[in-house]
Amino acid sequence: MLRYALKRLQSLVISLVIASLVIFAAIEVIPGDPASFMLGFNAKPEAVEALRDQLGLNQSLIKRYFSWVSGLLTGNFGTSYTYRSPVSEIIGDRLWISLPLAVYALTLTVLIAFPAGIFAATRRGSRTDVAVMSVTQLGVAIPNFWFAILMVLLFSINLRWFSAGGFPGWENGFWPAIKALTLPAIALALPQASILARVMRSSLLDTLGQDYIRTSRAKGLTRRQALWRHALRNALIPVLTIIGLQFSFLLAGAIIIENVFYLPGLGRLVFQSISQRDLIVVESVVMLLVFAVILVNFTVDLAYAWVDPRLRARA
């Protein structure tokens, strides 16, 4: 188990290093001189030179890369030139909206998808199954931001149950904040829950056709017992893969959904930074999100080993 974890950790580190190189190259190498790019082409040479100095652009590329990475490791992300404050502070504030939103949405996804998928698989071909399959077929096809707009139209404008957007901040209480995140989380979760429910169903059906299910039935287990004791855990293996993938879609999706609900999260921040050409912020936000995705994949790998003894033994 430890060997397996170490091996996964090794590939996590390699992936992070490559990803950081890609992002560094995209932001600091491809545009030529980031300082004049950020200030625009009409900027005064002195201003550009000052910014070059501030960003450390007069150092060699290798030195810049290492000081960027060591900054990331120590929580020093540099200073935003538009906000004139440390990037880590700006991101820190926004992260407390985007991350809870993604986690909230993932929780909803699992809570909806598992029962729906299990229910459909156990009653294969029944009316319930057909209903679940039809609804999820629609759910997979619906663009989440459009679904969000429709919910705003219904719940905020017509029914006035929720405000149409904005965020009260966590300091004003847990429940108001959760309420503000509820519509966005539902909008994010519905399409992903549809995908996951379909995966859960087909994975369960697959498992229910395995030899060891027949063996367990020959032991005297009822259909239901065979499902809960033997099929479910085996069916979980492909489902875990999808959950891992979905978290990255949810993070990316959160960036878009924040726009619908005017939530001051990472999404708003990154689009503002793009229009203000604040590359330092863009660079840090992208790196942070990629880090989150890679970390989640690592966790999923560990979860595999927890579910499957064959993986623990191998490697």
Binding site: Y212, R214, R217, K219, T222, P309, R310, A313, R314
Partner: protein
């Protein structure tokens, strides 16, 4: 009073008839052998008893077990009977166990399902005792083992332990030894026989192999195409049999192709001190990679026109050696020569050498690209020729190859799914013949076939060898087949050749203990059974 009575059972799935008027009975302490080739409905008979049939199946007739009518019993009653009064063992031990649960938990589950008041500890204690009975000593195989840590034979013992944990009155075993090596098969059959006599339970033993059953069954039912065609006493059926199918089955099981031994000539294939290592995953993160020696200093010579058998159990290295001879893998030592020239010259295999050799594999289903016509399939070896035949020559070569294996030239435009297993093996042979290769490597070439088809293919191979002067390297785990078609035999164990010699000599008078155990384990038909 019989324990189990199957009376005029008919079964259809989606209106497709599977079984018709099947009747048989099992007495307590009796072994009922049920024999049939693939598609005979023997497994479906077993699943009907447990009522574990595919959806949309309909049964008629009666199945009476200890006073219960199983066809009309409620699901609740059936669940209380399954595993408690009737245990079942399946063919494929590699997939019959849940990979995520320990063996102890899986055996204990049988007990806890039927006796819910048993504590977990008590159930585990009984599971341990049951595994001991099935000859899996707890000291070596603790309850905490997972299925993937056991071999096929050991897993089958776990499956048997699950089935007999509650000492059922009836045990159904569906091809319990088909996936196993011959010595393991003998051990499992002994185990089943011992459990029957100790517990006085009835055993319904389903198999395609007459020899497996004839040694131990009290009564035998022969099935074909969903019907029981003959029923008789285990010890005397070969004398009392009436039905032509039974007679054909006995004849095919002991079939000996009519072949003349070849006088020794020049060597065609020379294997000299061949070594093949596999790299294993590192044990520690920075340690050196471990090596596993699959083929260890193997040498032998195969003469032109000769038929040489290579036998051994799974994992002995015979498949690895075959791959090396075919030039599919590089060896780590020694050399492999055909007509004095190495198969591997430098890093690339030598085409001029390779065209002297072709191969027929075991699986008639996986041996062909499903998207190509037979013509394209069998002409693939033309790639080895410097100037492949064109036009009329090519058509002639194709027709000849198909005719020589008993197919027709019209078959060349068909796709592989239009042929049966036996016909596919004929097409594989045609592919091997088309460039007039001298050496044909037969890698378990008849192992997947039903006995009657197997007999035909063995006859074909014998006939072709005589007509074209072919040389065979016959690799098989099935010793009786090897005996019928080879001049000499090599016995392989743990990567080494442990015994070699003329076939009859090896079978009649084996020298090494390993060879003796292999030969002793071969299931045999009663004396005189194949003369019919």
């Amino acid at each position: 009073m019989s324990l189990l009575i199957i009376d005029k059972l008919s079964l259809s799935i989606d209106t497709k008839p599977i079984l018709q008027n099947v009747s048989m009975a099992v007495e307590p302490g009796q072994i009922r052998g049920v024999i049939g080739e693939s598609g005979s409905g023997k497994s479906m008979t077993a699943f009907s008893v447990l009522q574990l049939l595919p959806d949309r199946s309909t049964c008629s007739g009666r199945i009476t077990f200890a006073g219960h009518d199983l066809l009309t019993a409620t699901e609740e009653t059936l669940c209380s009977i399954r595993g408690n009064d009737i245990g079942m063992v399946f063919q494929e031990p590699m997939t019959a166990l849940n990979p995520l649960h320990t063996i102890g938990a899986q055996v204990a589950e049988t007990i806890r399902i039927h006796e819910p008041k048993t504590s977990r500890r008590e159930a585990m204690r009984r599971a341990a005792a049951t595994l001991e009975r099935c000859e899996l000593p707890n000291a070596r195989f603790p309850l905490s083992r997972y299925p993937h840590e056991l071999s096929g034979g050991q897993r089958q013992r776990v499956v048997i332990a699950m089935a007999i944990a509650l000492q059922p009155k009836l045990l159904i075993a569906d091809e319990p030894t088909t996936a196993l090596d011959v010595t393991t098969q003998a051990e499992i059959l002994d185990l089943l026989r011992r459990l029957v006599s100790e517990d006085g339970m009835g055993l319904m033993l389903i198999t395609h192999d007459l020899a497996v059953v004839s040694g131990i069954a009290d009564r035998i039912s022969i099935m074909r195409q969903g019907e029981v065609v003959e029923e008789g006493d285990g010890a005397t059926l070969h004398r009392t049999m009436q039905h032509p199918y039974t007679k054909a089955l006995f004849a095919a099981s002991g079939h000996q192709p009519d072949r003349a031994p070849q006088p020794p000539t020049a060597p065609l294939l020379q294997v000299k001190n061949v070594v093949r290592d596999y790299t294993m995953p590192r044990k520690t993160l920075f340690g050196a990679p471990r090596k596993f020696r699959a083929v260890d200093d193997v040498s032998f010579t195969l003469n032109k026109g000769e038929s040489l058998g290579l036998v051994g159990e799974s994992g002995c290295g015979k498949s690895t050696l075959t791959r090396a001879i075919l030039g599919l893998d590089k060896t780590q030592g020694g050399e492999i020569l055909i007509d004095g020239k190495p198969v591997f010259a430098g890093n690339t295999p030598d085409r001029a050498v390779r065209r002297k050799m072709q191969v027929v594999f075991q699986d008639p289903y996986g041996s062909f690209n499903p998207r190509h016509t037979v013509e394209r399939l069998i002409t693939e070896p033309f790639h080895l020729l410097d100037t492949p035949p064109k036009g009329a020559d090519r058509a002639k070569a194709i027709d000849e190859a198909l005719l020589s294996v008993g197919l027709t030239p019209a078959d060349k435009s068909k796709y592989i799914h239009e042929f049966s297993g036996g016909q596919r093996q004929r097409i594989a042979i045609a592919r091997a013949l088309i460039i007039k290769s001298e050496l044909i490597v037969l890698d378990e070439a008849v192992s997947a076939l039903d006995v009657s088809i197997r007999a035909q293919i063995l006859d074909l191979l014998t006939d072709l060898a005589a007509r074209f002067g072919l040389t065979y390297l016959f690799i098989s785990h099935d010793l009786s087949v090897v005996r019928s078609i080879t001049d000499r035999v090599l016995v392989m164990q743990a990567g080494k050749i442990v015994e070699r010699g003329p076939t009859e000599q090896i079978f009649v008078n084996p020298q090494r203990a390993y060879t003796k155990s292999l030969i002793a384990a071969i299931p045999t038909l009663p004396e005189g059974a194949t003369d019919a």
